[in-house]
Symmetry: D2
Subunit: 339 residues, 4 copies
């Protein structure tokens, strides 16, 4: 059971609610967000079934939820969540597009990328300053210097910044420069990182783990929300299968599944999802048609010299063309005449 406290409920009212729960031998999981306090009840199901809390002072509503994930579930919140990043909506009526290079390499590369993706209609600049790499000897990113470049290039082009946080110790630093904090696929079940990023006061984009089930993904988002963060964005980026023609197998049915099970927005990464430049356009279109709230696409001014992921990065010209197709499709799906 989840107990939602009223916006202006007092500490005494909260304490009273908690006492009532603990009297029954049940446990409490407290989630204090900027705008809401939520009390999760943990313990014996039969005992929870007998609880009557809705009449207590300061309680707005109680919700009985059968799944382990509570705050992320559609049962908890019927309407779609729209994450508002300083005026840019994720999960609203228009798809959001995040674009840029895999890794931040230099100010020049980044500025060129930012101009290109902004002029083509993207709202976010993406780029890795801390790169989680399979080998310790691969390029690991420019760290805080890279973050500064991201902020500068984004600001100069009216873009927001999304970038990955790989480490509990650098959350604060990243949050100083980024608008949205990304959790990468390899950290999807790094539960300590999830908890701390949930307290950072920024929206969080949670990439699906390489072999995470839909349910595990929802539970990972629950870790973030249970620390008080209301703004979680899912990102499908392909799962690992036996197929080697593509880098990963992009699972677009995950878009439909998340829409059924959760109120949170979901975007799709056709670049990592396929690993092939030629497949980005068809998979971007398919993602939008499946109901995705946006896309994250790798764009590099000179893919042939990229330090990582060159073979899956679009040129600015290709990106512009993909954006045109995507925008036409999105307009048609919204039922607009000019589709």
């Amino acid at each position: 059971m989840i107990i939602v406290m009223a916006p202006h409920s007092t500490e005494d009212e909260l304490k009273n609610v908690i006492d009532k729960i603990e009297e029954k031998g049940l446990g409490v999981h407290l989630s204090k967000g900027a705008s809401r306090t939520i009390v999760g009840v943990i313990g014996d199901k039969a005992e929870i079934g007998k609880l009557e809390m809705q009449h207590l002072s300061g309680v707005e509503k109680t919700v009985r939820i059968t799944e382990k994930y509570k705050l992320v579930s559609r049962e908890f919140k019927k309407n779609n969540t729209i994450v508002n990043v300083d005026g840019v909506e994720i999960g609203g009526s228009k798809p959001v597009v995040m674009a840029g290079p895999c890794a931040v390499e230099s100010m020049e590369q980044l500025m060129e990328s930012a101009e290109a993706v902004a002029s083509a209609g993207a709202q976010f600049l993406r780029g890795g300053a801390f790169k989680p790499r399979t080998s310790p000897y691969d390029f690991q990113g420019l760290a805080e210097e890279g973050l500064k470049m991201l902020r500068t290039a984004a600001d100069a082009n009216g873009l927001k910044v999304v970038t990955e946080v790989v480490d509990q110790r650098s959350i604060e630093t990243v949050a100083r420069y980024a608008d949205v904090l990304q959790i990468g696929a390899r950290n999807m079940q790094n539960f300590q990182l999830l908890k701390e990023v949930g307290r950072a006061g920024r929206p969080v984009m949670l990439k699906r783990g390489l072999c995470a089930t839909i349910k595990e993904w929802l539970n990972a988002a629950e870790y973030i929300m249970s620390e008080g963060c209301d703004d979680v964005i899912f990102c499908e980026r392909g799962i690992r299968t036996y197929e080697t023609y593509t880098r990963n197998t992009l699972d677009l049915s995950a878009v439909a599944a998340i829409k059924e099970l959760s109120h949170l927005p979901i975007i799709v990464d056709p670049s990592h999802g396929t690993g092939r430049r030629s497949m980005v356009r068809p998979m971007a279109m398919a993602a939008i048609a499946a109901g995705a709230d946006g896309l994250i696409i790798e764009v590099h001014p000179h893919p042939e010299v990229a330090l990582s992921d060159g073979e899956q990065s679009l040129t600015p010209a290709d990106f512009r063309s993909v954006m045109e197709d995507v925008n036409k499709l999105a307009a048609m799906l919204r039922g607009e005449a000019d589709a």
Copy 2:
């Protein structure tokens, strides 16, 4: 190397070509279709590299192909193949839709299904008369009786018939009633069946195996084409992964991959691909946006009493609604004003 004989080349010219190849110690794979004869050269690559055949009498062209699959490859034929089934085009500008119940259960069920799918705009009636089931004790289909019902219901509603052939011994029987012969996922590498179905004189729809790679799938189609069948249609129906929320993982990047590597059409099965009624619409839309040439969808007049796959079958009303969305999307993608 592949040698394409001219349409009116003679047997002597063919014999001369073969002699020249065998003189060099190389082998020959002969593919005689209704309209073309093709000579595949097999053996030592260096020796093949030295062959000069294009000037021989009766030779239309020679093609050097690096992949193991030859006739199915884009290298062999640049333009998209359009499979024409008595006027219904698969691979043309409009998506083709095949719909109907999983299994043929009765004349009444089938007639109701056929009327529903025809009036909603489908061109093909689907339905299994021979059912490959995991257990020998599950319903195995109505066999030839079922085929007759399919033909009758299709004819009464202006539809074509697509149905599965599970057995070399019944190819002829199925071909008597069906317009397109389907090879099911479990038989994708039943090479004897592939060869014999390639000689049956009917277009063949080849479903992807449960864990087949793209390359294995192309090679399976090569078995069919190398027996003289020019009209092969791929059908992506989901692959087996660790995910259990969906019945299979629908791999829409396979649509883009097939379009790159082959000239043959590909359709998508969102019913088996997801195993969930609620996911058929978003995945059907995504498939068309990814570039698929059509859809195969399970529709049952009364899903709740279906002998198999009821949980993934659409009702006729739902199917009609999905068709409307799909047709709007397809029109938009064709660039039509009325999208």
Copy 3:
């Protein structure tokens, strides 16, 4: 429910049993083996639950089985089945070893192989005369000529023959030369082939499909047994996963699973299971330690010139050495002093 008829029960008694079942609106699946007739009851579970058949004349016993697979299950038969191939036991106290080349290439190659594996202690000669190959242009095997060579080489060295049948039409031919008929991984759910091979009067070795679950594998064996064949041998040969270092992922827990769920013997193929010569010994040892009833191992007198699977074939010398280790291990597991 399964009804086992007594050894000398009459046709009238059988007819009476069937009539009683059909009176209740239930269906019958009849399995007539050389030594036993078994009546499977199919249909509504509640109705089956009410059946009382054990007192009828000619009935030896009735067994209520919850799983879909019946005859293969441990519930149906408590004791391990020992398949006796002219005196060679599969599933008895000593492991059986089948060895030889992937494909039959020539009489000389085969004779050399047979001598080597016989002298090292193998009981079966393996080798493919019909090869199911991914591409139609790969070497497809020597067909009946290859079968004759297998028989000749085996007889000359006191070995039995196990070889694959890929086609309903050639079952009879293969059965003329082979002692055990093998169903390959790609045909594990070729249900027509399973049914017909179940009527061939020979023991059948059923390889696990590339991505078959344990339950699907048991049901595939049920297809064979339900046609009257009592002697089915499972063969674990690795499943398809994301891992590419090995050709397949050898699933030795399948050995333990089959031993729990079924009374039938199971052997292991470390050659295909790993695809690497260097891994055959450790995986052979592990298979025996896990409880496998035997091994099937690729051995080629000259692996470097093998037409297929050379990189996973042992030399005769390596094979002899593996056999010594395996025999020591098996003796130790039997509790013999000379271990």
Copy 4:
């Protein structure tokens, strides 16, 4: 290229080596362990090929290694590494066994477990004080209180302690109580954690990620070793596949693969690997026969009331019986007469 500095080489000698590398425009990765300093050369392969460093003062040897992982590779170190934990050898001639409950629940439960596993012959007590759980509402462990109990119970029974570290911030705390630090499957590519644990001065047991390839696993170990830790132990615990009968698919060929590619020891976890109590014994035996250096097994005094993983935990009596079989097998493999 890897440059191993001599044991008593000076800082000046090291500086000279680094200067020579950087003069060529190449990068340096420095790894300073307790007993050795290693200089990795990073950058353009052609340029590295031209380096001649072996004659420089203070250089013990140089090793050219083609794989990305260097320090973990067999190319770098021919002989097996034996990790010595206060006299208990991992990777020596006798298998090491780590046993105990999944989670530390109480002093009583732990003491009972420790007595049981010690008397049966285990050398390590295992147990989770910090539990990485799929849901934030599941039992998360007793934290430092649990660590204290582990130490107390281990010391009272002459056992070493192995336990998981889930968080950079708690490495120091865990290292205060544990002899071996475990990195769990979900953190195998938590690169920050790997780096920091590599500097903790304790041996590290690295579990394989749920869908990690062998190569990714080796590279993860390289992260740890490149921070100066020489004592890494691999632990195969099953990978995620489509099969649902077992909790994971235990990949014993990974044991053989690691033995080929690395000098480091590897142990096997048949409890998580199968998720079924009945399969622990056959898989433990198979692991040892495949060449594993030890086992980690879940044992709970009362599996039916365990807070987690009860269905895969052995009772003390079962564990004792498994240990007897495993010891007999290991003695036989060592060639001892009393096998």
